[in-house]
Every structure is written in structure tokens, then in C-alpha cells.
Symmetry: C2
Subunit: 274 residues, 2 copies
Amino acid sequence: MQRRTIFFVSDQTGVTAETMGHSLLTQFDGVVFRQVTLPFISTADKAEEAVRRINATGETEGIRPVIFSTLVQEEMREIVKGANGLFLDFFAAFLNPLEEELNIKSSRTQGKAHGMLDIGAYTLRINATNFALANDDGAITRDYEQADLILVGVSRSGKTPTCLYMALQYGIFAANFPLADEEFESGKLSNTLMKHHRKLYGLTIASERLQQIRKERRPNTRYASPTQVEFEVRTAEALFRRFQIPYLDTTERSIEEIASRILDATGLERRLRP
Amino acid sequence: MQRRTIFFVSDQTGVTAETMGHSLLTQFDGVVFRQVTLPFISTADKAEEAVRRINATGETEGIRPVIFSTLVQEEMREIVKGANGLFLDFFAAFLNPLEEELNIKSSRTQGKAHGMLDIGAYTLRINATNFALANDDGAITRDYEQADLILVGVSRSGKTPTCLYMALQYGIFAANFPLADEEFESGKLSNTLMKHHRKLYGLTIASERLQQIRKERRPNTRYASPTQVEFEVRTAEALFRRFQIPYLDTTERSIEEIASRILDATGLERRLRP
């Protein structure tokens, strides 16, 4: 099997280079990629050190590496471009056509994307994250007025990570409420939930998968038994339908996809963008 | 001021398109961008609907929009390319050179990046997130054996969001422990912390900024008073130096940057990549 080392080189965090690289690399089955991030390459010294590292890797492995660059500053780009590897230059590919289209020169300064701090955005993310933490698992419900979204579903259907991801990625205030015996037995949702009916969004999951997750967590319990898991999933879905709560099956989905699908389905506005 | 609408079009979540778009757009000061994500464009019908929406926006605004595309499937790309806008095609720019370099055809299938579920990666993220939640704020310390990293710092120095981000983004098991009166008065760290000394990483923050954050949270308290805040920050930094704990000032940094700098400084391996 072919092996190849991939370098993500950035004058900032490298998150953009990693994200774009990941999207591309997943298109190639049958290649094993070793991924190395070289962030904060913001001086000529560091750029030269990066070149040495890339070249040494190529020599050791007998095949030149691939370099995903989001370097913005001309000087550093020119240096790293000189490394012995395939240089894929994010800014060269898109910045020039964008400059022409907007009829304006780009600032070409480093660190605009994830580096320089936008205090407003930072505070929003922190507040949204704190909101998700405080309103996790039905802990409190008095802040639902403030919530953008309230996820409901059985235990381990994916509510908590989805809320946290939406907070960190989009600044969305998401609470979550676990459906449990009280709801299953009464066939009802609490007044608090019904009052915020328009904010409710359901998560469900295949019984087999949920059982597997719960078994890892608490083996040999009622909580993880096939009968209980099936009962909970079936009853939760019946509640979603009865109360007309839109819902999504999380079984085959990544957290990114769950979050994107909820935003798409609800029309909820992102409060900030990654 | 120039205004322009940007569409992120993807057959999956649009996260890659948004991330790359954001990196580019931040290079243009003096333009107000309205950003619209059109995810899950996976059929010809949806692609044609996207084109109608893009064209209608262009007509209303009297200027053609910019389209960042991470569409993979040829058919959908051809349709959306026909819209009246600047079409920036992520895959066309990078997939072909990568195919040549690797001497292998890409699968060109949609949904590889954030769509199709890698159960192992999913479980890892969830477990890392649960670990961060369970080990937040010094709540428990018995799991430190399992931790990749233990962040220490005063209250509101950025520990919790950094731990959660590292869990969700990189699958890293990060705990955090708040420095408080006990440590300040004794000038020591607990045995549990010292036992895991190699995993410790400090976060600090400028007193003025910290005071502002705490004031918003609990106005008119000792917790938010300038004297107390200054004392805590100064004492925490002295502890970091005394016990040779590497540390980072989070004041002017985004969560992405804090996380990347910690990874870079510690050499900690990412357990997964976004």
C-alpha cells in the first residue's frame, strides 16, 4: 500500500489547512497518509526549519511529501515552496481570483482567520459553551427563554456533543433535555418543554447502536438491555411524532453532519462562523 | 462600503467550504460579506434550486455572488458552475494535481469528509468529550492516569472551552484543574497534580481582561475585584514558574490558537483530525 506524508503548513494554527487537506485526502482510498501540522510558521527561520523537516522526510521515505499551505505572507510562501514536495497553495489558488472579483487588494496579513482575536466572537463562543454546559441533560430548564434550540432524545443519542459543537463552532445557544421514564410513562412532555415547543428538535438512534454504546458504558444493566433500549427508542420516536417535533437519526452521522442538518432543517442562523 | 453575498455550496455539511471561505474573506477588509451555507446539495434538483437561489440573490443585489464549492460529484458541480457568480472550485484546484502526484484516481464520492461515519473516530470524540466534561474544573482527579493533558489556571482563564475544543476537534483527553485559594495560600500543588506533572499545562490571562470577564459574570464581588484578580494571576504565574509548568497567555488568542499552540509546544499527538 502506498504511504505518503502530508505537511500542513500555516503561519497560524493550521486548522484551515488541516480541514481542506482532510477533505481531499478522504477522496483517496488505498493510500496511507501520515499527517503532520507545522503551525505558526511566521518567520523566515521557522520557514527554513520547515523546509529542512520536509526534505528530510522525503529523503527518509524515498518519496516527496505533499505540502498543503495556507501561508499568507509572500516571504514565507516563497521559502516553503522551495521544499522538495508537491506544494498545494491555498491562497494562490483562490486569493487572486477573489481580488479581481472584488476589485480590491487583500491585506495578505497573517493570522486573520483563527489567530487575531475578535473579542465579540470569543465572548459569544464562551457564553454559548457555558450555556450548553449549564443546560446539559435537563439540569436546569429556567434558561430556555434564552435558548436557540433544545435538543430532546434518549440518553446517549448524541445530544451533549452536538450542543457543545454548535456552541463552539456556531455560537448557538443549545440546551438539551433527556427523555426518560417520566416522559415514557406519561406519554407527555413537561409544560416547560411544551412552552418552548418551537425550539425542540429530536435526536434518535438505531436501537442496536444505542445498545452497543450503553453496554460499553454500563454493562449488564437494565439501561443497556435490548428490551429497555428498544422501548425507549420506539417511545421517544412516538413522542416526536405525536407532538410534531422534527427529528433526526444520528446513527450513521458525524457530529458535524448532525449540527449542519439541524441548522439546515430549522433555518436557525449561525451566530458566528468558524 | 462594498457588500457581497457568499454562498458555501457542498454535497455534505459545508464545513470545509465555510472554513476555507472564512480564511479567505478575512483577508479583505472593507467588504461586508453576507454568508449563506447551502449544504447537502446531493441531487440535480437540489443543485438547480441552489442555482435559482444564487441567481435571485445576484439580481436583487445587482452584483453577482461568490460561490465557494466543495461539490465533489461531477453532475452537481456542472449545474452549480452554471450559476451567475464567481465559482471557486476547491476540488478542481487541488484534486487533479493530487491525483497526478499520487498516481491514483480519487474516488470522487461525496460525503467522505464529514459525512460518512467513521465509528471509531465518532466514539473517540464522544469519549474525549465525556472525559473533558467529567474532569472539568477539578471535579474529579482520579482519571488523570487516562488524561493526555491537564490544564491548570485561575477561574475563567479559558480552560473549559479549550478542553472541549481539543476533545471535539482532536480527540484529545484533556482534564482541567482550577487554581484557587488552596494553591495560592500554600504555594503548592496537590500531590495528585504533581504526580502528573508532565501532563500539566498552564493558562494565564491579562488581569484587565480577566477582571472584565468576571465582572460580567459576578459583578461587585471579591471574585471580580481588581485586587483579587491581580493577586490570582500573579500567584498562578509564580506557581507555573516555580514548578516549571509551561504556560500560555490566552488574552489575545482564539480557542483554535490556544489549542494549536498547546499541541505544538507539548508535541502531543492528535488522536484524530477534523
